[in-house]
């Protein structure tokens, strides 16, 4: 799998402070707008979204995803395919 986090993201989505379902729905909306092959970087501090709903969505869509756990938040990298 490509190392997504080492690549320059096409767009960064900051959903820090937002709880479920906003990170997922805003992620979907952002992905609709980036071109195929583009990488969306998501800054998130909602555990249910970062560890469950957003990765599940990406997997359902077949989009590669990497989740990086930081001290109090997560960085998620999704490549739109």
């Amino acid at each position: 799998m490509a190392d997504l986090k080492s690549q320059t993201p096409t767009q960064t989505l900051d959903v820090l402070g937002r709880v479920c379902p906003y990170p997922l729905v805003l992620t979907k909306k952002a992905l609709e707008k980036i071109p195929s092959g583009g990488i969306l970087k998501i800054l998130c501090d909602a555990p249910a979204s970062a560890e469950d709903s957003v990765p599940r969505f990406a997997q359902d869509k077949g989009y590669p995803i990497e989740v990086v756990k930081l001290e109090n938040s997560w960085e998620l990298y999704i490549q739109k395919t």
């Binding site: 479920c20 729905v25 909306k29 599940r56």
Partner: protein
């Protein structure tokens, strides 16, 4: 397959949780596709009629009068998530409200769609076209 929901909000903005719950459920419905069959979607629309149009009033003073957060945040979030929001024109006229009195967009938080003031007939057509109608 896309399942269409219409939340019809008739309740006043305060002294009841109905309108707040309607907006919360409409927002939450936008994330359930991850639990559905592959490709299934849920599309939610919100219509404010009767007393419910008062939910759309801007500059609400909920914290001052009731000690609770205003409905405005929920309203803005529905627009942020590109949901279709319809407000009944005839009922606004009953209250003497115009577009200038209402929260019509969520530009300040990145929203791209606007609420629509429409005749009741348009809301009635929407009611007939959806799979599930929820009165709140």
């Amino acid at each position: 397959m896309t399942k269409k929901l219409l939340f019809v909000v008739r309740a006043l903005p305060y002294k009841t949780e109905a309108s707040r719950l309607a907006l919360t459920h409409a927002i939450a419905s936008q994330s359930v596709e991850i639990y559905l069959e592959d490709g299934d979607l849920v599309e939610a629309t919100i219509a404010f009629i009767g007393d419910g149009v008062l939910n759309c009033h801007k500059d609400q003073q909920a914290m001052k009068h009731y000690g609770i957060t205003p409905i405005e945040g929920h309203m803005k979030n529905t627009l942020l998530l590109d949901m279709k929001v319809m407000i009944c024109k005839e009922d606004l006229d009953e209250f003497g409200l115009t577009e200038a009195d209402l929260l019509m967009d969520a530009d300040d938080i990145g929203g791209e769609v606007k609420a629509q003031i429409v005749p009741f007939g348009e809301i009635a057509k929407e009611m007939e076209s959806v799979d599930h109608l929820l009165f709140c």
